[in-house]
Symmetry: C2
Subunit: 541 residues, 2 copies
Amino acid sequence: MEIWQYLINAVQKAGADHVFGIQGDYVLNFFSRAHKSSLKVVNMCDEQGAGFAADGYARINGFGAVCATYGPGCLKLVNPTAQAYAELSPVLVISGVPGVSERGGDPLLHHKVKSFDTQLNVFKEMTCAQAQLSDAKTAAEEIDRVIAAVKRSKRPGYIELPRDMVNAETVVCPKYPEQEKPVDKEALDRAVDRAVGILSKAQKPVISVGMEVHRFGFQKIVLELIERSGFPFVTGVLSKSVITEFHPQFCGVYAGAMSPEPVQQLVEGADGIIAVGPLLSDLATGIFNFDIDIRKTIVPLSERVIIGGKEFYEAGIGSFVPALTEKADLFKKPDTVFEKNKTDVFVPVSGQKITMKRLIAALNGFLDGNMIVVADAGDAMFAGLDLVLAREAGFLSPAYYASTGFAVPAAVGAKAAAPDKRVIVLEGDGSFQMTGMEISTAAGLGHNTVVIILNNGGYGTFRKIIDGPYNDLHNWNYAGVPEALNSGKGFAVRTEDDLISALFRVKDHPDEMAVIEVVLDRMDFSERSLLLTSRIKSGIK
Amino acid sequence: MEIWQYLINAVQKAGADHVFGIQGDYVLNFFSRAHKSSLKVVNMCDEQGAGFAADGYARINGFGAVCATYGPGCLKLVNPTAQAYAELSPVLVISGVPGVSERGGDPLLHHKVKSFDTQLNVFKEMTCAQAQLSDAKTAAEEIDRVIAAVKRSKRPGYIELPRDMVNAETVVCPKYPEQEKPVDKEALDRAVDRAVGILSKAQKPVISVGMEVHRFGFQKIVLELIERSGFPFVTGVLSKSVITEFHPQFCGVYAGAMSPEPVQQLVEGADGIIAVGPLLSDLATGIFNFDIDIRKTIVPLSERVIIGGKEFYEAGIGSFVPALTEKADLFKKPDTVFEKNKTDVFVPVSGQKITMKRLIAALNGFLDGNMIVVADAGDAMFAGLDLVLAREAGFLSPAYYASTGFAVPAAVGAKAAAPDKRVIVLEGDGSFQMTGMEISTAAGLGHNTVVIILNNGGYGTFRKIIDGPYNDLHNWNYAGVPEALNSGKGFAVRTEDDLISALFRVKDHPDEMAVIEVVLDRMDFSERSLLLTSRIKSGIK
């Protein structure tokens, strides 16, 4: 089989039916072949956007791919790929590179930096596996090796395809199904017994659902543990909506000092915590301001379990959680009735200036189970934590690596992965100025995405830390951008009634792209953002 | 002295009075101090734009600086920095990073990828020197070391400033002026004699002026050699306009197979060539299709000289060229009268559809010595080679690394470096979709830049290689973008009279930003581009 064909088949078998990217002469042959295959090739405005789109796609679909040319194409993917690495998004980076036969004498081919391996060396820093397909014979094997690593670790992988190898014949070997690691039953029992020991004494237990539950697809077994135990559960910044927020046992999004008071009390006052698959980053915990007794904590991770501080490497979420659930009778509680913050019906006050708080209230009335929210870094994400979402994994956000400019291109990927859903983007004006032009890509694909721009005239989050003119932006007529880019309708919202009329209009036109500019006061922040920035300002404790 | 103060002073002493970037919490303290200093801090829409702006600035000014936050800020600078490395643009990258005191126990601070050194490892691949200012005592010395390397090699350098070191006291040591490498007079004489041997026998000699002449500031001594020898001279893709194109001995831009016939004959038919400071890249030579007798070639480079294939490491342009000029009487020729392509006066044909060829003709009437042209990769650059420029180094283009999206942000940097000039951007619609939003930065600074978009509906250059729908772009109403971004006036040009009226309008409003969309046929290419793409298509010889 020719290498291009094998690579396309492998990407499809891994689960992606889209690839995002921009062509260039080193990748043009592969690109044109991908285009003629059943893979859908999506051209973006900029490679940065393609990287974010593949990430958004992978977060929903479980595997994503991006394809770009050597040098100026692929090196624009560095930042999105770093984010995918940091936040466990399985994206395969495919780069067309100079042909093997072109490299003799180390010539100055265009796009080259220090050496032909510069790009490989860079991507080693943000991928879990790499391959240069310079030997046709082993190319198929190399492709399989990288994709398997991506699927297993949920981190990006990197493949270089020299342009003179695209049509070379590779050797396809028979595949043996990967051996599952056998479970060490005895060690597992010991771990479960230890956990039961903690939980059976707990009066105020809680389950915290972390990011790995989503990335490794453990929602079902975790939900079973929740329901069989009767424990209340929370999610985190990185795992918001991994289990539906309409679930009766759901109590809110815990984020250390950034949490609403009752959620913070529930978690930090607990005497037995099952924290499944967390990533304990600073933003997820309100700059490490959490106060949890490690001796009463059970932390199942994808490849180990930590119980009361002791690590068990013989078990992971996949084996431990079902085994624990089986013993639920020994520690279960009656279903908790937890006093949640109710979302009130939003009644607009005519002529009343719109605020962040009221915007979120209005969106809680607007959102339905058919929608996915993509929130950019900054207050879009912090405020977005207070949205109540019916749909599982209906909230995507770069909550750890926090690259601004993620949301609009990620929405292109999200919509491609879930074509029957409507994607709602929530982002700041600063983010929109970075990558907002990708509404053009969305429009070109016929997407019905809704982009809500929180226009506070600059980088609001920083104003609470150190303010200066560098936090202000040259203002755009954001509502006019869609028309200039032939990409949907634009709306400018200044009052509560403006907002409701824009949202109604959007709901009434389910096939139409829309950009809603929400003009906010320059010092209007979400509660959660105020908590976070005051902690950053006061320094790390 | 505190580190921030020393760093700002050092950047200014190196020659930059601007720094381009976007803040973030790891760099916010330094950013705010830079803002209060006499350094001008320019916020861009996206860090990618900041990288290109610093490059554009450095190409004109001789030194540039860019400043961004750890992770998602700085990793967006990878591609622009790679280009600056490849094309010898001396840019200092300053990154605010997590504090030294925050790193104990290797916590998951936001923006981190694999380790705290991920970013440093990446930038090692595209900078000539690096420093982490984690020791206050040596910080000043480290800053000096990196900046000296940047100034010497004309390549980017990289400095990490941990946020808890910004206000730390550093030790300022007395500086000794750098010792100039003493010239080995005997070796130099041998080299010059050998060169004179070749040149005195030459009947049809020529001088080719390369990129290093500009980057290392050797224009004056090279001009003297040209004038004293009487030889005709050419420039290249990377060195176009390094010496004024109005000079009587200037014969055109040589680019291998991409050259106009008479220029190609002049260079390839020569029997004595002085090629000063070239970068022999594939694009600069029409995919290595040059046919030059190495035995008759003298190549002075910044740090060595190659004469008839023999290398002299004891001399460089700086010592060799003046020594050769001194002996000019031994090989001089009467001033060559070379038949140049005349630029005719452009007389618009009313209602006539505009073409690439006629656009260039019209621009040759429009351009004056008060303008700088920034041409993006692709046909903007190839066609731009036929512009005739009065001003020295009045043409900036990423002619080797060829990153699309360079032009608009680089124009922001160029204008900052040469505030009394007007910058004319020439780029494709594909490039404008990548970074065109930086017209907002230009407008915010009150620039009077003119952006000319060659709208052929997609990535035209690739259409001649392998065509497919991936070469087409979702069309924008480009002339409407300035209004949506509050950034100047927009014009749509379809005919020759449209063009002339737009150019007149622009000339009559010397303080106004403008975007001129030139609607071209989808298969309308410059002659040079046709030559290049046909060679790419036919493969490397």
